[in-house]
Amino acid sequence: MRTVTVVGASLAGLHAARALRAEGFDGRLVIVGAERHRPYDRPPLSKSFLTQRPPGDVELADLRLCDREEEDALAAEWHLGTRATALDTAGRTVTVDDGRTVRTLRTDGVVIATGAAPRTLPGPPLAGVHVLRTYDDAHALRTALHDGTPRVVVIGGGFIGAEAASSCAALGLPVTVVEAAPLPLVPQLGPDLARICADLPARHGVRLLCGTGVAALRDGGTGRVRAVELADGRLLDADLVIVGIGVRPATGWLTGSGLRLDDGVVCDAGGVTAVPRVVAVGDVARCAGVRTEHWTSAAEQPATAVRNLLAGRTVARHETPPYFWSDQYGVRLQLAGRPGPGDAVRIVEGDPGDGGFLAVHERDGCTTAVFAADRPRPFMRLRRRLATDPPGSPGPSGTPAAPAGAPGAAFWPYCSAASGHRCAAPTPGA
């Protein structure tokens, strides 16, 4: 392969570029990114970045994912502020548009790393309504939050919504979170932990309204949002609205490319698509049926996908248990593994009613996931065991792990016979 084009210049794209060079690819490396900024890190954007009076301690330079020295070493051709608009898998070209000219770049291999973009509410755009994905989004939101004392309504109680609401509360702003489900964070944490975490907002003066959707945003004819109308008819006054209702994988440019798209670019556990020499990584990739939206997956998957790209077939699979963290209301939440709907949740350390705690999800004698609120040290120990324990290691109570292929298999690949592992059941306190 003489030319590889990485589309998407953020976390996963940069890691793919690094991996290509680390694997000895010495051909032409082209990186195409729609944003005008060099790769930067997103997680602080909903956290420390928002709470600082502009300009604060955390600025774009502090969020950068690589320095100039590393960039020089990558010897890549950067096309920033440039959007890929089409991929021709037969002719091996990527069409790019920088707003002035449309060009067609010839390439041998392609790494798709276009991430995801926020979902928006239907209706015309209104001033005062924000989403939070990019540095530019965060910058605009921060400027608005620090202008007077806006009444904030956050739509969506997921991680972005919760972190943004918590940052607004830290700024002393009146905040209401609207969540359509009966409880926030159920898909991410499972019902038991979601219930335990549900009183965090109230303890920090944030009003949480669950079980009701949003009917419309009202502007009173001014073009600027004035209120949020809920599905149950209630009207919430709002000077500023943050819409955190999830993201859509950025696959629009791949329509007609012949790649299978189904809530992301469909690929195997090694990031390999059905089209030769095209791999997908990060938030945009649906690997072996699962699409993750976590920082660590986006940073880890590219090493595997790039090996496969250079080998021309799947020689490696990314199988590390998923991991994410979230900082909200002064609490650091961390979860590793794949909690399943029927899992039993057991608190193994601390007390949820009184500060931090550590919990494990268990199913049929297997530990499927580990969760911590402000317990980084023991969490780390269990997370490592989840990833590294050899087959057949003892379960949490000292009993042997469930046999391979036990009913928990649907939720935790480490329990499945196909993966060759049995469950990794950490022993708390070991």
């Binding site: 900024h37 060099r38 930067y40 890190d41 997680p43 602080p44 956290k47 420390s48 600025e59 774009l60 330079a61 969020l63 950068r64 994912l65 690589c66 320095d67 100039r68 590393e70 920082w295 660590t296 940073a299 963290w325 900082d327 980084p376 040290r377 969490f379 780390m380 120990r381 490592r384």
Partner: protein, 114 residues
Amino acid sequence: MIPVCRTEDLPEGGAVRIEIDATTPAIAVFRSEGALYALDDRCSHQDASLSEGWVEGCQVECPLHAALFDLRTGVPSCLPARRPVRTHEVTEADGMIHVRPAARENTVREDAYA
């Protein structure tokens, strides 16, 4: 020298975090394979406390994104951390552990070219 804790309060593989004053960054003191090490507690990547990290040999792994730091030099050996953390002098005598915080250098900020 600033007292950290008594010898028995820092067992093998353990870490202690000390706050000195409002202007001095917190320091983490580790004991690994018999030796003592003192580093700035805050990870040079983002907001995590290295005293909560995983210590193995002469390395500590950050509890948030798994960057590894050399306990002897404070230099990261893998991403996502790119800058070293400061190291401090640490001594153990008469059943007590002490640190001498390193003089604070001006942190040089790379030119912003983003």
